[in-house]
Amino acid sequence: MRATRWVLGSAALVAVPWIAAAVVPGQQRYVLHVLIFTVLYGALALSYDLVVGHVGSLSLAHPAFFGLGAYTLALLATEARWPFAFALPAGIALAAVVALAVGVPMFRLTEHSFAMGTLGFAIATQVVATNWVDFTHGPLCVTGIPKPQVGALRIATLPAFYWMGLGALALVALLYRGLTTFRLGRAFHAVRDNETLAAAASIDPLRYRMLAFVIGGGVAGGIGALYVSYVGVLCPGELTVSLSVNLLVMVFLGGVGSLRGVLVGAAAFTALPEILRMAPTWRMVIYGLLLLVIVIRAPDGLEGLMRRASSRRRRPASSGA
């Protein structure tokens, strides 16, 4: 039953380009474009939740890692003519190495200071991207980033990008599951919930915080690289603090520390403003109000709402049996 649902769900996700073509023939390009953003944002939000949700460190450095991966791929692909298959891992590796170097001093800071420190790092990265014109082209942006090509496989069409994004999301979701369950997951949650007691359980808090931070940073770099290879242009504006805010909204809207919650949050966050385009004037007002309602009515996010709804559905059934 569960397995069948799983297979059907995956098949439906893979078939989305055809479904879109059949259901909204005129709009399928637009729908696919929104969906590509949704899957990429979903993967990015999962990598962010590793740090914020599972080890409980409020990092605001995520845009910097996203940007490092994006700039690495953009510059290697345009200036150095590196193939995608080398530029993507380079982007992931650079973001992870920088996360390692930045994490060691940052994790000496606690709570608010950690948030401030990582925010400072994110801003500094954006300032460098904007002002080091000789290297990053600054506000002139990196343009003409080639479409990914691996061997004979060329990713150029919207459905191809969608499948690429979906594949990346599946990989990140697997990694997320692997890291947040059983032994590793327990260590993450122990560090998040009670650092003192975690140490008494032989768990080195710094080690696990770093593990989540570095893997989260590396994944963000990889998603950044995929993102620019889809969009084709990279400007310093992509690295602003507002990306952190967006990620925070997705994670908290959906449900901190929950795979399903974060994905639902990312989908709601990217799809909702688009759906609301039907009412252009009131779009952002309605959007803001919806966020407020969710935060007030469901402080544990959409995941909490879904869990309560399904237990309510189950309870009458089990009491009748």
Binding site: G178, R183, R186, H189, D193, N194, A200, A201, P205
Partner: protein, 251 residues
């Protein structure tokens, strides 16, 4: 050679000497109590020997090895388990998961093995769950294994913290006031647990205010006052020591 030893252990806070040149020895298999009036430095001493505070002077040795100033998670890995005075459990994890958390660093498991759920990883997990369940049964929490630790009563959480500390099978167990703020039935249960440990040959160092518990179960009692060791010996001797009486009741 003693299992555990401090020599001249000293800790000062802003000019106040909380632990003052304390020499303390625990032999393997002993059940020793550390007592003293409030503020006499018992918990500070515990924190100094378990890596939560760095002592200003003195040495801590465990199994012949100098462990002075070693980080808390390393001390735990070397085989010193401890509980905390205020109940300390992971409230969002179930009772069972709380125990599993305490075992994990003692299991070798690679990230790749974890991601692909290698058979070895499954076997380790199954063995850990089995051990955790039997420990929960032994403290009478078997029926609450799946309950989030935060939903247990105060006394149950204390028993859970105690069981968790036993999970990695430590060579030395430091218990910080296991009977404090616990109802009389639970105190009897706790006493029985500690006695059972002692019978199994475990080494226990206990900080406790409840004199009934201390006098009842300890082989040897060490008394601290104002950070200094003022008396040491079998419970019935220490109980009549004029210095101890004075420290507790004044002159």
């Amino acid at each position: 050679m003693a299992l555990f030893e401090t020599r001249g252990l000293t800790k000062r806070f802003l000019g106040v000497t909380a632990v003052d040149a304390v020499d303390l020895t625990v032999e393997a298999g002993e059940l020793v109590s550390l007592i003293g009036p409030n503020g006499s430095g018992k918990t500070t001493l515990f924190n100094c020997v378990t890596g939560y505070l760095a002592p200003d002077e003195g040495r801590v040795t465990f199994q012949g090895r100098d462990v002075t100033g070693v980080a808390a998670h390393r001390i735990a890995r070397l085989g010193i388990g401890r509980t905390f005075q205020l109940v300390s459990v992971f409230p969002r994890l179930s009772a069972l998961e709380n125990l599993l958390t305490f075992l994990q660093q003692h299991q070798e498991e690679s990230l790749v093995g974890r991601l692909v759920r290698a058979p070895r990883v499954r076997r380790l997990e199954a063995a850990a769950v089995e051990r955790a369940r039997s420990l929960l049964d032994s403290v009478g929490l078997g029926a609450r294994a799946e309950a989030p630790a935060g939903t247990l009563s105060y006394g149950q959480r204390k028993l859970l913290a105690f069981a968790a500390a036993l999970m990695p099978d430590p060579d030395l167990l430091l218990l910080d006031e296991p009977a404090a703020a616990v109802n009389p039935t639970m105190i009897e249960q706790m006493k029985a647990q500690i006695r059972a440990l002692h019978r199994q040959g475990k080494t226990v160092l206990l900080v406790e205010h409840n004199m009934d518990v201390v006098m009842d179960i300890s082989q040897r009692v060490i008394v601290l006052d104002h950070g200094q060791k003022i008396a040491e010996g079998p419970p019935e001797v220490v109980r009549r020591d004029p210095k101890v009486v004075e420290a507790y009741f004044g002159r």
